[in-house]
Amino acid sequence: MNPIIDVNRLCKIVPLARPPGEAVVTPAPELVILQDIDIAVMAGESLAIVGASGSGKSTLLGLLAGLDLPTTGSVRLDGTDLATLDEDGRAALRARLLGFVFQSFQLLPALTAQENVMLPLELAGVPGAGELARAMLSRVGLGERLAHYPKYLSGGEQQRVALARAFVMKPKLLMADEPTGNLDAATGAAVIDLLFELNAEQGTTLLLVTHDEALAGRCGRIVRLAAGRIVPDPVEA
């Protein structure tokens, strides 16, 4: 079986501004964000990418989702090399495969909870978007708050709407970027429980980016990042 995510020798290097006065003959300074990353994730697997702030986690997630392009190396999603696709092609692939949950929720403030969940369905032209969104919001426990705008929802409620929005499309692969990063411990735990429940129900492959070891521990496998490289698990004392 082919992995749903296949990452080979991935590097992301960005140029830095030359300090004033520095001679132009010296090589331009660069910042290595990610170096030689190899990851393979099989369908149905759950993988946590763990690392401290600045370790390159979010950059890696952006590259895996085709939101950004690597400097060298390749990313294959569901057998398709992202480098062979243009921006619109990558967007079409995302529409077919991916669901997202973000640290900052990213709900559209002008839309109600239900409309936020309807949006990806509408963009994909799925009929009966309203009904599907209502059912999904009921599933995440927000059946009474369909018409509420994000600013009138608590952080936990907003993230549940985001979960409903991600799962309503029944994605093959869910990418979650620090999903509890903006929530207190208890609310975060409830949201994570819900995420794993939905994941199990739909048999979705889960890629979770976090700095929270406990949360990472709930995934089947952990990849650790430090200074842009994959590092081995710490030896348990």
């Binding site: 939101l67 921006e87 967007a91 995302r94 900052s104 559209l108 963009l123 970027d177």
Partner: protein, 838 residues
């Protein structure tokens, strides 16, 4: 789901969330002001044209020096047009022993077709409009004829073989122009009496006119049909070639109305641009999220374009309706003022308004939307990634191109359109630069003050002031944009209040109330001094008296002048006898535009009016040869003059240097202002010098002033709308930074700042912004006012110093309102809501 359906759904959601209200309001107000200005201007324009037709007495006048063949009159009637005819000539009118040379006009029923005659039942009695003409056997005479012959109502005045009963005193003929013929005393009779008068014989100089009036299309069709059929001595007069002095007034008034429409368009563009900028800033995240969901950038662009076009169509439709309704309201009370029914508006302004709305949207709203397409999807993970900057130049380029086309289209006058556009573009750039440097300068000042104080702790209120002033630099970019927009809005407001008033006042002042109202012509050299003495004896200031010589142009640079060398219109001018003069001093209301005025020891020379020089192909240095009483006078042209024809003074196309033509047969002419109270002076002049003709210009002057007065009032109403658009720009400018300020206030409150502290910090920042924007606006209004006055309307422009006080005060007032409104919404809502929205 079809894309349009989804776009409409997105539109409804954005609308409900209040995201599009400002943009829609900007569009509605823009289109409403453009259409109401358009509708109203269209009606005023039609009314002005119609009123100007009164000055012709018809829409079209056919003039001949012989009786018209009956088939021409039949042609006019056949086309369903109103018809009248007149025959005018000079004749002696007699009563008892007295007689005087009189301008006689025989008219048919229906005359005049445009405008009305006014008559009174006796000298110095109130006059009224009348719809009839004198019956056969009756004459209406003007006051001068009544006085000259001591005629009263019921007396029988003799004209040729006729004895006509005086039926009324004629006080106004709408079509009486300022030609020399018309300055003689006046008598109007019925055309049916003409054959029996014995006055019309072979060789008698009679001007036969056929008058036509009706629907503009029918009139122009008639004009087209008759033009090729005109024979020798026949000509056609329409509004285009009649009465240049009235034409001038009309042109200017249309320029004023056009200018107002231009301002509304520019202001609307700024408002739409500001509103979309806000929309686009607030929708970056939404676009990043949608791209993350897999929507292609092309799809998002199509959706946004459809959403906005739907909004544009709806807003333009509402704007057109409001504009249409509003102009009826204005027209309602303007009708009272201009004393005439305004014609029904044409549908063109609605189309124009609609297209304007869509063009504004395309030019100013779509470019920021196009940029939204480029929002990197990565923004969902890193909110610090914003819009790429590259598209900005192109986006503004599109907007500027669109508005340029709109301006030229709206004004219908390339020079006016480009002057206004150039003025605003220059002002905008200048405002940006000045605001930028002023903010930097202030920042430096604040820092050096802080250093001087050694950074010690100050009173909390002063700290907040310092914090507010430091914000000027922190928000340098948004502040610069806000100052630019605010200054632009205020420029428009100042321009429309102060500068507009100055422009209109200057225009009205071109025919001052003390302008000369009497001319005396045919003064013989030996009468000159006794006449001036008579002025002094009656307590009047003796006016300047100018020599007048009748001469014919014989050759230009030695080559004989042939009529065939000129276009038809100029031919008459080249062939006719000119009134020449000579004088040492440049007369009032004259300005030398090239060459130089005569100096005492110069050789013989001519100074000519630039307009006639252009038409007849005269250049500086050309030698003109004039023939006066069989003798030739030659000299080169050494200067060109610009004349103020509105001045009502004696003006000459050609002036000779002193000495050149002194020996030629000369009479003298003068013009002067005679106060109403001294009106009898004119009679004593006529009695003492029987050969002199005293011409009363006051009726003509009154007519000209009343036309200008009507136009001024109409224009002022149109200005109100552009003013409304200016206020909207101010509102959009204030709103453009409100989100940022609200978040900041919420953050400060959550950090423990008190209400008073936040207000104090905002006040400091806004006071500087307001004052700066106001100063720039005063600068802009003065500059643009000067450019319009001197470059477009050719008025001398006087700076209004109040504008320098009003500008900053208005700026401060706007920002105070902004502080109040912004602080109210920031302080009255829980800070958490504002923070959550961010």
């Amino acid at each position: 789901m079809s894309e349009l359906k989804l776009a409409l759904r997105l539109l409804l959601r954005d609308w409900r969330a209040g995201e599009l209200r400002v943009l829609a309001l900007a569009l509605v107000v823009a289109v409403a002001s453009v259409t109401s200005v358009g509708f109203f201007a269209d009606r005023v324009r039609q009314a002005l044209t119609r009123d100007a037709h009164q000055l012709l007495g018809a829409d079209l006048v056919l003039i001949a020096d012989h009786p018209w063949k009956p088939d021409i009159a039949d042609e006019i009637r056949k086309r369903g047009l109103a018809f009248a005819e007149t025959a005018a000539f000079i004749s002696m009118a007699r009563y008892g022993e007295a007689s005087t040379l009189t301008g006689v006009k025989a008219v048919s029923n229906g005359y005049p077709l445009r405008g009305k005659l006014r008559v009174s039942a006796g000298l110095n009695l109130p006059d009224n409009d009348t719809d009839v003409v004198p019956l056969p056997g009756v004459a209406w005479i003007d006051a001068r004829l009544a006085m000259a012959l001591s005629l009263r109502l019921g007396d029988a005045v003799e004209v040729g073989k006729l004895k006509l009963t005086v039926g009324a005193i004629l006080t106004l003929e709408p079509d009486r122009s300022a030609s020399f013929f018309n300055f003689a005393p006046r008598l109007i009779m019925h055309v049916d009496d003409l054959p029996e008068s014995g006055l019309v014989t072979t060789g008698s100089r009679v001007t036969y006119s056929l008058l036509a009036a009706g629907e503009p299309e029918a009139v122009s069709a008639l004009e087209k049909a008759l033009k090729p059929r005109l024979g020798r001595g026949e000509s056609l007069q329409s509004l285009e070639n009649a009465r240049p002095e009235i034409r001038n007034t009309l042109d200017r008034s249309q320029q004023f109305v056009g200018l107002t429409a231009l301002l509304a368009v520019i202001l609307a563009a700024v408002a739409v641009s500001l509103a979309t900028r806000r929309y686009s800033a607030r929708h970056q995240d939404a676009y990043a999220v949608m791209r993350c969901f897999g929507a292609s950038s092309g799809r998002l662009l199509r959706l946004a374009a459809l959403e906005f076009i739907a909004l544009g169509v709806a807003a333009s439709a509402v704007g057109c309706l409001i504009g249409f309704g509003a102009q009826f309201v204005i027209a309602g009370f303007v009708t009272e003022l201009i004393g005439a029914r305004l014609p029904v508006p044409s549908p063109l302004p609605a189309v124009q308004g609609f297209l304007t709305g869509l063009a504004l949207l395309l030019g100013f709203a779509l470019p920021p939307l196009l940029q939204l397409r480029n929002v990197p999807a990565l923004r969902v993970l890193r909110s610090d990634i914003g819009l790429p900057e590259q598209g900005a130049v192109l986006a503004w380029g599109i907007g500027v191109a669109v508005i340029s086309c709109l301006l030229v289209w709206q004004s219908g006058d390339l020079k006016l359109g480009l002057t206004v556009l150039g003025g605003f573009a220059a002002a905008f750039l200048l405002f940006g630069l000045l605001a930028h440097f002023a903010l930097r300068l202030l920042d430096r000042g604040i820092k050096s003050t802080a250093r001087a104080k050694g950074g010690g702790s100050a009173a909390p209120s002063r700290t907040m002031w310092r914090y507010g002033l430091a914000n000027l630099k922190r928000h340098a970019r948004t502040n610069t944009v806000q100052i630019m927009a605010l200054a632009l809005g205020l420029t428009a407001v100042l321009l429309l209040t102060f500068t507009r008033g100055d422009l209109l006042a200057t225009w009205q002042a071109t025919v001052p109330p003390d302008a000369p109202n009497r001319f005396i012509v045919n003064i013989q050299p030996e009468q000159k001094q006794p006449l001036l003495d008579l002025f002094k004896a009656n307590g009047l200031t003796p006016p300047p008296v100018h020599p007048m010589i009748r001469g014919r142009l014989m050759s230009l640079n030695g080559s004989p002048v042939k009529a065939d060398d000129f276009a038809e219109r100029d031919r008459r001018m080249a062939e006719r006898e000119f009134n020449l003069s000579y004088m040492a001093m440049l007369p009032d209301a004259n300005e030398v535009v090239s060459g130089r005025w005569f100096a005492p020891n110069d050789a013989a020379a001519f100074s000519v009016e630039e307009g006639i020089a252009r038409r007849l192909g005269w250049k500086l240095g050309d030698t003109l040869t004039w023939q006066v009483a069989g003798r030739d006078y030659s000299a080169p042209i050494t200067s060109m003059r610009k004349l103020n024809w509105d001045s009502m003074r004696v003006n000459f196309f050609v002036i000779a240097s002193p000495g050149l033509m002194d020996a030629a047969p000369t009479s003298f002419i003068t013009s002067f202002h005679l106060p109403e109270a001294s009106a009898a002076f004119a009679n004593s002049v006529s009695q003492r010098f029987t050969n002199l003709t005293v011409i009363d210009m006051s009726a003509i002057l009154k007519q000209a002033q009343s036309v200008i007065g009507q136009v001024v009032r109409a224009v002022q109403f149109v200005f109100l709308f552009a003013l409304g658009a200016g206020v909207l720009v101010l509102y959009s400018a204030l709103l453009s930074t409100q989100d940022e300020r609200q978040k900041e206030a919420a953050l400060m409150r959550s950090l423990g700042a008190s209400r008073a502290q936040i207000l104090s910090s905002q006040r400091a920042e806004f006071a500087v912004l307001g004052a700066l924007a106001g100063l720039l606006a005063a600068l802009g209004a003065t500059g643009i006012g000067w450019a319009i006055a001197s470059q477009v309307f050719q008025f001398p422009y006087h700076v209004n110093h109040w504008v320098w006080l009003a500008g900053p005060l208005a700026g401060l007032a706007c920002m105070a309102l902004n502080t109040w409104a912004g602080a109210r919404s920031a302080l009255n809502h829980p800070p958490l809501l504002a923070l959550r929205e961010s």
